[in-house]
């Protein structure tokens, strides 16, 4: 009960902060906040697949690329309303996720990691091949470029929807099925959980989240969809964001998104690192340190502290 109240309070505080920031932030910082929201959506998506269902993916940048190009193509050729392209890219990337999930049923562990990595490397090549439609390496531009203010509202609404959607999905029957697959596929299958259905479902939903994130990502980069924006590094950043914060925690995703979204900004103001690509150095170092020191990410670390604190109170005879 106490946990539920704490959680509801945190939710209220985060929501209040997000709404309050809408009035406070400058245009530039709103752009940064939009990026955080985008990373959060993608990280929640990856968390459903990797954190809750135990299927590793290094290929979520590929789904973001598909979502992003969906938005750009619909807007460029059909002048579709930008908000309408979001559910559309949700649907399309859901289909792509299921399509990837079906062969992925036969892969596990390192093999799945290899295959999804290859997916992340090869998908950005496709717009180069069909450059007549996609603009090749110059990219494709949406017919209007939304303001950062508009984006802030849309992106954080999407982030809130992603959180609530993921929470509803994971707390019930489906979430239990996902977690049991993660913990033991054999035990899950022998208690009547259909591995093919739930694994492809996890792939589809996870990819769909990444797709929406990709659409917003195109909008925040001035409406440009370009192949090199969706390179391998993007996929790696999302995976790292999910892992640093702790896989299997929706709250942790917010920490991961803040980390991935704001680190370049913070590290560029540090004197020595500021020039060049210092942020990647910090990024890599922090990731490795977190993995070596906090095996379950920041969220897991907080959980451990919390439980130690509680057990310390319980075992302390003077406390009662």
């Amino acid at each position: 009960m106490r946990g539920a109240i704490v959680r509801a309070l945190t939710l209220a505080v985060v929501a209040a902060v997000v709404v309050a920031l809408a009035f406070e932030l400058s245009d530039y910082h709103k752009g940064l906040a939009v990026r955080v929201a985008i990373y959060y959506i993608a990280i929640v998506g990856l968390n459903i697949l990797t954190g809750y269902t135990g299927q590793i993916s290094i290929g979520h940048g590929a789904f973001m690329a598909i979502g992003g190009y969906t938005t750009a193509i619909m807007s460029f050729y059909h002048h579709t309303n930008l908000v309408v392209t979001l559910p559309l890219s949700f649907a399309i990337t859901f289909g792509c996720g299921v399509a990837v999930g079906i062969p992925a049923l036969r892969l596990s562990g390192v093999y799945l990691a290899l295959a999804t990595f290859a997916l992340a490397v090869s998908v950005p090549q496709l717009p180069l091949k069909w450059s007549k439609w996609t603009g090749g390496s110059n990219g494709l531009r949406t017919h209007t470029t939304p303001s950062n203010e508009w984006l802030y509202e849309v992106a954080w609404t999407c982030a809130a929807l992603a959180f609530v959607g993921a929470w509803l999905l994971l707390r019930g029957r489906t979430g239990r099925a996902f977690r049991s697959i993660r913990d033991s596929e054999l035990a899950a299958a022998s208690s009547g959980i259909s591995l093919p259905i739930y694994k492809t479902l996890a792939f589809g939903i996870s990819a769909a989240f990444a797709g929406v994130a990709g659409s917003l990502f195109v909008l925040v980069t001035n409406g440009f969809a370009q192949p090199n924006e969706f390179g391998v590094i993007l996929s790696l950043q999302i995976l790292i964001g999910a892992a640093v914060a702790g896989l299997g925690s929706l709250w942790g995703g917010l920490v991961g998104a803040l980390f991935v979204g704001l680190l370049p900004e913070i590290s560029s103001s540090v004197p020595v690192l500021g020039s060049g690509h210092g942020q990647d150095v910090v990024f890599g170092l922090i990731v490795i340190l977190v993995m070596l020191l906090l095996p379950h990410g920041v969220a897991g670390f907080l959980r451990t502290i919390d439980s130690r604190f509680k057990s310390a109170i319980k075992s302390d005879p003077t406390a009662s």
Partner: protein, 333 residues
């Protein structure tokens, strides 16, 4: 956990190439096809030799991945970036006035040290954790190396002195670039040296023992940790060769090894991921296959090289998950 252990022992007990008769026959048939094609057509011959040269690079990086996977069950996603970093070090050495080949060998030594340090500092502490943790550590290393190199040398194109010159040999109407021949020879030579080390020296024996039966090896006095570290070092050295041999054709950028890494993954999986011989055959096969398909299939333009490699990888994983040279894994529950 029990599954993991029984799988580990099941895979670790096998020694040898593990190629079955149909696979050997298939490879012979492919060689015959290439030989006849090369005799019939000059362009075919040129593309085959160029493909073998590129394939030899994929093969050395794939062999590096397989060595590490066999020894420590880690897929090193940073293998390509480590190779890229050592190539930049060689570049820096040539800037300081050293000759190309002196820089080449010095950077191999530095690569070896890098491999040993990476194993000791980053991999050993997380070695027995989940696959996901291992993947993320190597991915973190990927980004760290990428950042360090871009920070130090910048992202723009750099040029090293050409190691082999631009001479073109002609033999019966077919022209072979000296560079292709040189790349092929250096890569194959380094693979053979490594094989000799593993097959005929006491150190090689100890390293194989440490990889296949760590517990038994440590009982007979093999220092398993050191052997695994040397294995990582050798893999990094081989990767450095791959990086230096990639440089003449694409020049130096921080992203130069990313496509090569994917080809090497495809090669390693084609060979069975646990078979050193398989990874070499797989690398050569993929190099030749991609070149010939690019030459003779109209829609397979250069942009599709990576997606086709991905497709090969996926097809192998789905149809023959143990590759050409791997053996079926027995999985007990």
């Amino acid at each position: 956990m029990a599954t993991a252990i029984s799988r580990a022992t099941a895979t670790r007990t096998k020694i040898g190439t593990g190629a079955s008769l149909p696979v050997v026959l298939g490879i012979l048939a492919a060689c015959l096809f290439l030989a006849i094609g090369s005799l019939k057509s000059d362009i075919f011959a040129q593309q085959t030799v160029a493909g073998l040269a590129q394939g030899a690079i994929y093969a050395s990086l794939a062999l590096a991945l397989v060595l590490i996977y066999r020894a420590t069950e880690v897929i090193n996603f940073a293998q390509g970036e480590m190779a890229m970093a050592t190539t930049y070090i060689a570049y820096q050495l040539t800037l300081w006035g050293l000759s190309y080949w002196l820089s080449f060998f010095l950077s191999l030594v530095i690569g070896f040290a890098l491999g040993v340090v990476v194993y000791g500092v980053l991999i050993r502490p997380v070695q027995h954790r989940s696959v996901i943790a291992l993947v993320i550590v190597t991915v973190g290393l990927f980004i760290l190396i990428d950042g360090l190199v871009t920070w130090k040398w910048g992202a723009d194109l750099k040029f090293m002195p050409a190691p082999f010159g631009n001479h073109v040999y002609r033999a019966g109407g077919v022209s072979f670039a000296q560079q292709d021949i040189g790349v092929l020879l250096v890569s194959i030579l380094s693979v053979i040296l490594l094989w000799v080390l593993f097959r005929f020296t006491k150190l090689g024996l100890a390293m194989r023992a440490a990889a296949l039966r760590p517990a038994a090896a440590s009982l007979v006095g093999v220092r398993v940790d050191w052997m695994l570290a040397i294995g990582w070092g050798l893999a990094a050295t081989l990767g450095a060769v791959a990086g230096l041999m990639t440089e003449p054709s694409v020049f130096l950028t921080p992203t130069m090894m990313q496509p090569i890494l994917l080809y090497a993954f495809a090669a390693a999986v084609l060979g069975g991921l646990e078979s050193p011989a398989g990874s070499v055959v797989g690398g050569l096969a993929i190099g030749v296959f991609l070149n010939l398909i690019g030459q003779y299939v109209g829609w397979a333009t250069s942009e599709l090289r990576l997606p086709i490699a991905f497709f090969v990888l996926l097809v192998v994983l789905l149809l023959k998950p143990n590759g050409l040279f791997g053996r079926r894994q027995v999985r007990r529950v």
